[in-house]
């Protein structure tokens, strides 16, 4: 038992240690990156250890001294958190490998600061994943916002500065004005902030309070990018591509929807959630967000902006899954956190590889690029299929459960919204690699380069790994499914 709790603390301690190493070795880039790689391997190993302890039925937890009377910082491992931590730490490893290739290939400045804050962000993500109550969640949630800001404004120019303002403004703003009062009201009305299977609120809680709280939570977790508080995500795209890939396709945004799932399952409880009046209204808002974001994405020519809006849309899937308040919906949400992570990070890796190898950023410039970068474009194709939810990729399964969830609740409008959005996905994502390989217009024949010129090896390696996992998850989704199925849903 005590060993397992040691694992839990180790998963939080690795990032600060890594930062120390990174800063100390700042004058030796190879060693510095070595520290990052080592730390990410160690973190992934620790998280696998935590996963195994969980499978053996151990309860891992840690509590601090009292911060406020009756309120402590608490860490606890539950299936969803273990899943999130596993994905984030594994993708950190992949991203570090990718970042080494990207940052050097692109000649970025201030790389020590970059790797240090990158490690700090991942440390905060571990805190979010293993948080045992709302206070701890909020602490790491805010630290994550703050520690990613230096990464967003990495370029240091006016555009980055503006993006950083929008980024932090929306994230801090929503968390202070909506999330914090929601937490305080929860504490005020129940006297507890712990995550409890089946929810915190007693039967006779004022339904108006629950309605208000749900709205506050959904908007307060700005990282879930529910419209109209989604602007920060496109703004964050000024960051270097590895940041966009890991943080704004996986860690930060998933910390948002992960928090929502956790709040839905452990603070409200599915039974209570199903009875909340404002839930239906929010459900349709999520449906609107996922359609509207897809439509906006279609109009974006900048590749990263298009991917950002696609992320907004996919996050709404997860939010929608929780708000359905049925077991299938939660399963779908949990799976989608994983599936979308692998798909979207691959897409961002590809976008970065294209930038490094051919300095292209706009979708319209990519026609015919398939000949120059066949490997990247093939990976792009598979990942986009995963996002759209088509075989042979893992995304199929999460979409499957989400659809089942909407059918369970009989909300056919939402089923239709999911289908339409998936179709839009195919249009605005899958067509990009298709056009890269088979140019329909036939123009620019002479200008198109024919020799193969891919991104640095490190980048290609990372892309290969994540793409392979996208496909593998179609064939072997059981481990993930079993983990998600362990989420205690209370009476549901």
């Amino acid at each position: 038992m005590s060993d397992s709790n040691g694992l839990l603390l180790a998963s939080l301690a690795i990032a600060p240690l890594a930062i120390l190493g990174i800063v100390l070795l700042r004058s030796r880039p190879n060693w510095r990156e070595g520290v990052s790689v080592l730390a990410s391997i160690a973190l992934f190993a620790v998280n696998i250890g935590i996963y195994h302890s969980l499978q053996q039925g151990a309860t891992l937890s840690w509590r601090s001294g009292e911060i406020l009377p009756g309120l402590r910082l608490e860490l606890a491992v539950e299936p969803l958190g273990a899943l999130f931590a596993l994905i984030a730490s594994f993708l950190w490893l992949v991203t570090v490998v990718y970042a080494v290739g990207y940052m050097r290939g692109h000649g970025e400045q201030n790389q020590t600061r970059f790797y240090a804050f990158f490690a700090l962000s991942i440390g905060c993500v571990m805190g979010v994943a293993f948080s045992g109550n709302l206070l701890t969640l909020f602490l790491f949630y805010e630290m994550l916002s703050l520690s990613t800001w230096p990464l967003v404004v990495h370029a240091g120019n006016d555009k980055a500065r503006h993006g950083g303002r929008v980024y932090l403004g929306v994230l801090l703003g929503t968390s202070i004005v909506f999330f914090l009062p929601a937490i305080i009201l929860t504490w005020w009305s129940t006297g507890s902030l712990s995550f409890v299977p089946g929810g915190l609120f007693p039967e006779n809680t004022d339904p108006r309070l629950l309605s208000a709280l749900l709205v506050l939570f959904v908007f307060g977790v700005g990282k879930a990018a529910m419209m109209p508080f989604h602007r920060w995500l496109p703004a964050a795209m000024v960051a270097p591509t590895p940041v966009s890939a890991l943080l704004h396709a996986v860690a930060v945004v998933k910390a948002g929807v992960f928090s929502l799932v956790k709040i839905g399952v452990y603070v409200f409880g599915l039974d209570q959630l199903a009875a909340v009046d404002s839930r239906e209204w929010l459900l349709y808002l999520a449906g609107f967000t996922l359609l509207a974001a897809s439509i906006v994405a279609m109009q974006k020519d900048n590749l990263k902006a298009r991917l950002a809006y696609s992320t907004v849309s996919q996050l709404a899937y997860v939010t929608l899954g929780v708000l359905l308040a049925v077991p299938d919906g939660v399963t779908g949400s949990g799976l989608h956190i994983a599936m979308h992570a692998f798909g979207k990070i691959t897409l961002f890796f590809c976008a970065g590889a294209i930038l490094v190898a051919s300095h292209k950023t706009e979708v319209s410039q990519l026609r015919g690029l398939g000949r120059q970068m066949p490997f990247t474009m093939a990976a792009f194709l598979l990942a986009s299929l995963s996002i759209a939810g088509l075989p042979p990729t893992g995304g199929t399964w999460s979409k499957w459960f989400l659809m089942l969830g909407t059918l369970d609740t009989g909300a056919l409008v939402l089923t239709a919204a999911l289908v339409v959005s998936s179709l839009l996905n195919i249009v605005y994502l899958t067509l990009i690699p298709v056009r890269a390989f088979w140019r329909f217009d036939g123009a620019d024949e002479a200008a198109a380069p024919t020799e193969v010129r891919e991104a640095p090896l490190a980048c290609c390696l990372a892309i290969g790994v994540t793409t392979a996992i996208c496909v593998a998850l179609f064939l072997f989704p059981q481990p993930l499914y079993e983990l998600v199925a362990q989420i205690p849903l209370g009476g549901g």
Partner: protein
């Protein structure tokens, strides 16, 4: 020795001041005043421990028993304020050397420390005495010393700021004097505990109402509650850096103590909060102060002045807590009193280091300071995060209690306004962060030498203060329990 304890924190600096004036060499004066203030701090710590164990301590000055003689009466509230003021007083003084040597001409340095000790004695005296008139006298001792301290600023505008402060401060103090005169006429006593017993009998008279009104207005002038805050930005901006740190961390806090003491002990709650519309007045003025102060701070080109306006805003938060008129509200107010002293202490101390090295604190001068003074800027950032109320810092605890207290009263709009105020704070703190870390480095000609951090003494105090922001964000027993005990002691008999 122990029986004399309630007097010691006041007596030490009060006697230390003239003794300090005898010292010729400024360095000796500094060392001496440091020793005095540290001793006062030790006495204050002992007092707090004693009040926890024994409850209220009473000390009859000169051996004259309570209603006739002057009584020093220390309950948890007094002890908390005494501890805060003496701790900040000692900390600021310990880090003061480099900054004072830079900003004060040599022949004035000894007298500077004399005035500082007098000011400290006055503030501690206010917090220790149980006699209304004695309180006025100490108020004037601290005020007069403050005028002199502000006027020692390098800029000639410091003189005008000190003059304006003198006029406003004297009007405020005279208002308090009028109010005290009225209650004396009504009851024939000046002892606060005695007043508390006798006032209810005559509480409905117009004289009592006038007395309370005069006292509240007078104290609010000292407290710089919007719209009586006009003296504060000038005085904070123009005063020597060290004086600003000291005033920001202590003076308004002591004024808030006076407000609480008069509202809740002398004129008890039934009268001050329940019978009069003060609840509304305090909450509304507090909210307006939060927004007015923060908005000005957002657009202010000089950070020191911006933070001065931010103090106006933070006073608003404390007054909101008082105006809620509940135990929880008062507790929140006291916790914020404690935490804000630490935050503003950190921020202005960091600015003292910045002014020491860069000669000013405008955003233009501070461009790229994150590179040249990394430790100072990190402390500035910590203080700023605490001011915003980011979890893990002391400011978060303040916000938590204030919002909970407002929720208890089911004032949802107030909850929203309190948090929206934090957002404005985030705006001006982030303006600082962008300036410090993102601004393009200065042109090569003006690049300063690398080793630009302040001297070790100043830096050490600064780092301790900055870490205190985190410490009191995680281990909140001292402020929370003491403030809770004090609030209960004042209100529990009357209110839920």
């Amino acid at each position: 020795m122990l029986s004399q304890l309630p007097l010691l924190p006041v007596l030490l600096p009060l006697l230390g001041a003239p003794a300090c004036a005898l010292l010729r060499r400024p360095l000796a004066a500094w060392v001496f005043s440091c020793a005095v203030s540290v001793l006062a701090l030790a006495a204050a710590i002992a007092l707090l421990a004693a009040t926890w164990q024994q409850g209220v301590l009473s000390y009859a000055l000169g051996g004259w028993a309570a209603p006739w003689g002057i009584e020093y009466r220390i309950d948890l509230l007094n002890a908390l304020v005494l501890l805060l003021v003496s701790a900040m007083g000692a900390a600021v003084l310990l880090g003061a050397r480099a900054s004072v040597w830079r900003e004060i001409p040599e022949h004035k340095r000894t007298l500077f420390f004399v005035a500082y000790l007098l000011c400290l004695a006055g503030l501690l005296g206010i917090a220790a005495t149980g006699d209304a008139f004695n309180l006025f006298v100490f108020l004037e001792i601290s005020s007069l010393a403050t005028y002199a301290l502000v006027a020692t600023g390098r800029d000639r505008r410091a003189l005008v700021a000190a003059y304006n402060y003198l006029v406003m401060g004297t009007i405020g103090a005279t208002f308090i004097l009028i109010g005290i005169g009225f209650v004396y006429m009504l009851t024939g006593t000046l002892n606060m505990a005695d007043l508390a017993q006798r006032l209810p009998a005559v509480g409905q008279s117009r004289t009592a109402f006038a007395a309370y009104a005069f006292i509240v207005v007078g104290v609010c002038l000292k407290l710089a509650l919007f719209p009586l805050h006009l003296w504060l930005p000038g005085a904070y901006t123009r005063a020597p850096s060290i004086v600003t740190v000291f005033l920001a961390a202590t003076a308004t806090k002591v004024a808030l103590y006076v407000l609480i003491r008069f509202s809740f002990t002398v004129f008890q709650v039934e009268y001050s909060i329940l019978a009069l519309p003060l609840e509304t007045v305090f909450v509304v003025l507090g909210v307006v102060a939060v927004f007015a102060g923060s908005l000005v701070a957002v657009f202010e080109p000089d950070l020191k002045r911006g933070l001065a306006y931010s103090s106006v805003a933070q006073v608003g938060y404390m007054v909101i807590g008082v105006g809620l008129g509940t135990v929880a509200g008062l507790q929140a107010s006291l916790i914020h009193l404690f935490n804000h002293a630490i935050m503003k202490g950190t921020l202005f101390m960091a600015l003292a280091a910045v002014v020491l090295r860069l000669g000013g604190s405008t955003y233009a001068q501070m461009q790229g300071v994150g590179r040249s003074m990394p430790i100072t800027t990190a402390c500035l950032l910590l203080g700023g995060l605490s001011l915003i109320g980011v979890p893990g810092t002391a400011g978060f605890i303040s916000k938590w209690y204030l919002v909970t207290a407002a929720a208890d009263r089911e004032q949802w709009l107030l909850v929203l306004l309190i948090l929206a105020g934090s957002l404005l704070t985030a705006v001006y703190i982030w303006r600082l962060v962008e300036t410090a870390y993102l601004a393009p480095r200065q042109s090569p000609a003006s690049i300063a030498p690398r080793a630009l951090e302040a001297p070790a003494g100043l830096l050490a105090v600064l780092v301790v203060l900055a870490l205190a922001n985190i410490y009191f964000g995680l281990d909140t027993r001292l402020p929370v329990q003491t403030a809770g005990g004090a609030a209960n002691g004042l209100l529990a008999a009357v209110l839920p």
